[in-house]
Symmetry: C2
Subunit: 389 residues, 2 copies
């Protein structure tokens, strides 16, 4: 346990973070240049708004929880400034993809840019003590609640003929609220977190078929079409560790521990590839073909989520099953995703574990899931080891 803790700390601080920073700070236009190839060379100077917020969060979180390094504080600030200056449309909604100098390329019908801006701003506000940014994070959190609870407020992708809701919204909102609470605080967080956990438990977790759905009808029923049958183990597992994290916050609340572990149990069975190892991206709830072409590829981030979730479950339950699963995902991941030559992880493997493409950063990948995993596992083991002494 002591060794594992050191491993995560060392990977984070001497491998993952140095891969990205300081070279990704854009001193000319602000924000970060993150779309990088295996060796760190820049593939594209566009900026993905999700990842601008996520990187600002990472840097401020390192400052808040690891060491008060000026580079991290200033680094977080240039991301937050860029978000505030360039990433909001006149209607208050955020963009998804902007040019290096902050001109909008694409806006999407989701509010994930907003959720990542909330955690980036909140962590930076804590690090800097900037009250205005703290208030801005809270306001934007309020806006996210509005988007999450007002169907039709954002242009929908589908008609209302077959209404559906996705686990992504309550899942991400739990984490957004937890991060906001941990940094600058907001009186709404406790209540909303429990509401979103209840929604996941009531509508998405299916005990009869031992499964967590990605999408359901508004009343929680399964929609027996391609989209409705599609499972995303990575998302469910992300929800599971946010729930276990909440259990910890609430004095190891036994119901939340049970719920989080149940989700891991169900989705380990659905998600782990027994033939090649690694976590599938999508599965069909009835094992039918999945419409999405990359369904059986191994993406980096579900592995980060499984590594966290299994470790956290183990520290909360001391059930050896979770230690074993943790070791299985950990070993698979650091053997297959980790780039021994240049550091950091590749993002995309074929089902058989061979590398599909070498980018370390693009519209969806950047300094977030991997450093968050290494940071969270290090901190979790630090606390856990202390209880063992």
């Amino acid at each position: 346990m002591q060794e594992l803790k050191e491993f995560y700390r060392n990977q984070l601080l001497n491998d993952t973070v140095p891969f990205w920073f300081p070279r990704s700070f854009d001193k000319e236009y602000g924000g970060y240049l993150l779309m990088r190839d295996a060796d760190g060379s820049l593939l594209d100077d566009d900026k993905a708004v999700w990842i601008q917020g996520r990187a600002a969060w990472l840097l401020a979180t390192l400052y808040n929880t690891v060491e008060a390094k000026q580079e991290w504080l200033e680094g977080s600030k240039i991301g937050v400034d860029f978000l505030e200056k360039y990433c909001f449309d006149t209607d208050g909604q955020m963009f998804f993809h902007v040019t290096r100098d902050g001109k909008p390329i694409r806006k999407r019908r989701y509010f994930y840019s907003e959720t990542f801006a909330v955690i980036g701003m909140a962590a930076y506000a804590k690090a800097s003590g900037d009250k205005r940014v703290a208030e801005r994070a809270r306001e934007l959190f309020g806006k996210c609640i509005e988007y999450a609870t007002t169907p039709g407020l954002l242009t929908p992708k589908f008609t209302n003929i077959r209404p559906a809701k996705a686990i992504g919204v309550p899942m991400i909102m739990i984490n957004t609220a937890q991060q906001l609470r941990e940094t600058v605080g907001d009186p709404r967080c406790d209540e909303w977190i429990m509401k979103w956990i209840l929604e996941i438990e009531r509508d998405f977790v299916k005990d009869d078929i031992q499964c967590v759905m990605e999408q359901v009808a508004p009343n929680g029923s399964i929609i027996d079409h391609f989209d409705g049958r599609m499972l995303t183990p990575g998302h469910a597992i992300e929800a599971s560790w946010f729930i276990l994290n909440e259990a910890k916050y609430r004095n190891n609340d036994p119901h939340l521990v049970e719920l989080g572990c149940k989700i891991i149990d169900y989705m380990w069975e659905r998600g782990w590839d027994k033939e090649y190892g690694g976590i599938y991206y999508f599965r069909d709830v009835y094992n039918k073909p999945v419409q999405e072409y990359y369904h059986d590829m191994k993406f980096w981030w579900p592995h980060n989520e499984f590594i966290i979730a299994t470790l956290l479950a183990y520290t909360l339950t001391k059930d050896n099953k979770y230690a074993e699963w943790h070791k299985m995902v950990h070993d698979y991941s650091y053997n297959h995703f980790y780039d021994k030559t240049n550091g950091e992880w590749f993002g995309y493997l074929h089902r058989d574990g061979t590398i599909s493409q070498t980018a370390k950063g693009n519209l969806f990948k950047g300094p977030f899931h991997l450093p968050r995993q290494e940071w969270y596992c290090w901190k979790t083991l630090d606390e856990f080891n202390a209880t063992l002494v």
Copy 2:
């Protein structure tokens, strides 16, 4: 050549078409039930509008060019009726995805539903002699021209900060016009076909780097970002055989033959996987990583397009290179995609040629690319063999 002709004819009439029909006719609601697994069992009873139009085209084309079978004429009619009755929104734009009983699920910001409705209606109008449907096809073709030539008429996916155009529009429009001309005729076709060919030649074909772009700036320059660098060999090759088809229509016009063959030469080099065989889905123009996750998978339809293009190029030039390439793609395809047990082709292979998923039909795959290839190759060889006698 005689054997190959027989092979395509036999596959089409005794394998591919019987896989789909008559079982896919929806006698209750009209249209076709096409989302089928390997063994033909139904995976989803939704209807993809593109493929409703394409299947109506196939059935009427078989009636028009193979045999005046009542099943094919009636079969085409139930697709055309379904399109007319359920697949148009009140603003005149077509839907993309509807329920079995014709309720709209999704509308997209493209007009490909319209282009496939044009060819379906036009072929049916020829088969049935129905003048009203012929006029409807011409009207809808006019609407497609309007969409294609009026930027901003359809809600754009991106802002106008970095304007771009895709080869898909002129490419599909050439085929739409060729099919309309061949069935019920329209005086606009000849001129527009040559305009679209010129647009592809002028803006998308890059002789200096021996490449055909998928997307360029309005003035034809390369946009050096993820999306702008991405090549789609299957699309370029589809364009190449539409151009060669036009060359044939214009008494083997030597400039069009040269242009079509050049596109094949460039994209064979870019698209053929020298290690595993088969055609890549996407490539980066500078061999950098591609953002789309399934870039190196082997999809069925680019193989259909390469099979047609290389055969057509051979019959027009008698250059043995094209006969060799034809044999390479043909052999790869019928060895890897063809389902020896149930007939028809699988749609999706991993890079190494193993099957990724077993569906024969879904939102994007149905009775179109494969039967069109078998039909077109059969007819092409029929004509070619006649010239050899």
